[in-house]
């Protein structure tokens, strides 16, 4: 399952995207996140999944645009820590920040 956490508004797409089929629930992304917006727990969108999965905390979902901005000076120049920490490569970020911080 592709889980998009975040929002879309007039200024663009602000989503943190998890590929839950790749996620192994190791929790490294949650550890390295400087703003602590990620967590690992039961999959709330697939009740039959037994393994834990990483997700954005519910209270942070409407704020990811701002919470994640410090990790993205020159979008793509230095990948955000959560993306680097994820060994299976399950995390990606949407284009909003790229337009804002990319060169």
């Amino acid at each position: 399952m592709i889980a998009n956490y975040g929002f879309k508004d007039g200024s663009g797409d602000w989503y943190i995207v998890f590929d839950t089929d790749k996620c192994n629930g190791c929790g490294k992304c949650a550890e390295v996140c400087p703003k602590k917006v990620l967590e690992v727990g039961p999959d709330e969108f697939d009740i039959f999944r037994e393994e834990p999965v990483a997700a954005v905390k519910p209270e942070e979902r409407k704020k990811v645009r701002y919470a994640c901005a410090p990790c993205k000076p020159g979008y793509g120049a230095t990948p955000p820590p959560c993306v680097v920490a994820c060994e299976p490569g399950a995390i990606s970020h949407s284009e909003g920040w790229k337009i804002l911080y990319g060169r």
């Binding site: 399952m1 592709i2 889980a3 929002f7 879309k8 508004d9 989503y15 697939d46």
Partner: protein, 311 residues
Amino acid sequence: MAEEVKTQEFWRWPETNWVNPDIDWKKGKVITAGVDVGSVSTQAVIMVDGELFGYGNTRTGSDSPNSARKGMGYALEKTDMKIENIDYCIGTGYGRVNVPMAQQSITEISCHARGANFMYGPEVRTVMDMGGQDCKAINVDDRGKVLNFMMNDKCAAGTGRGMEVFADLIRVPVWDIGPRSFQIAKEPPMISSTCVVFAKSEVVGLLESGMPENDIMAAYCSAMAHRIMELLNRLGVKEKFVITGGIAKNKGIVKRLEKELGIKTADRAWYKKEYIDKGYPFDTQLAGAIGASLFGNALLKMGKAKSARKA
């Protein structure tokens, strides 16, 4: 003596409930219920062995537990079934954690996907839930499992509540807006701001400029359709494409969305032929509660149900 002021609330859509006359619930093995407490409406659905037994569709009040009780009471009104007879109840929607009779809560995304699968059939690939306060775009597989989802709950633009505010403003019952938005000479340009507050002032301006009411309705419907399309474009729309939730009943938006996307939405009819033949009412708002109820059935069968009932 002052004359009593007559007011009409144009946003007030009718509440409905229904009980299946063909099922004797006392003979049923498993009775499950789903309560979808949304931001605007609350639905309670009762299913006997995975078949639709009854539902109640009401407005959500200011507190979720009471709304859930009201919805459930309304669903049970025409039957002699009691809440105690329900084996397993699942809460969903915004107020899902505050449903007193529910043993478990499941997110509305999963429930709408599952419910749409039941209502429209396994060919459904994209579900657009147009709720009272948000819209969700969901890609599903043939079993109703979520493959990809996107939610927009940041603001009420392009949602049911936005339409209610608009109905109240132009003083036209909310269910008349769709049909009337087609009684126009020429499609007007859409309302430029989708924000409910800004759109409201734009509409006031248009009314003052003498634009016909029907044209304004058309302009608002296309603005809403456009906004939904923006959300869907990121996710990708596949056929069979269905819309659930209250806005699905508004032809003015659905038809304009179909035109923009170039994809037809599936007919609003039961997938199960016997349901059509027997004339069971089809209400797009029920998808979440139906999904929750089906999950309840599945969890009971798998032996994964949590037993404790909160109230």
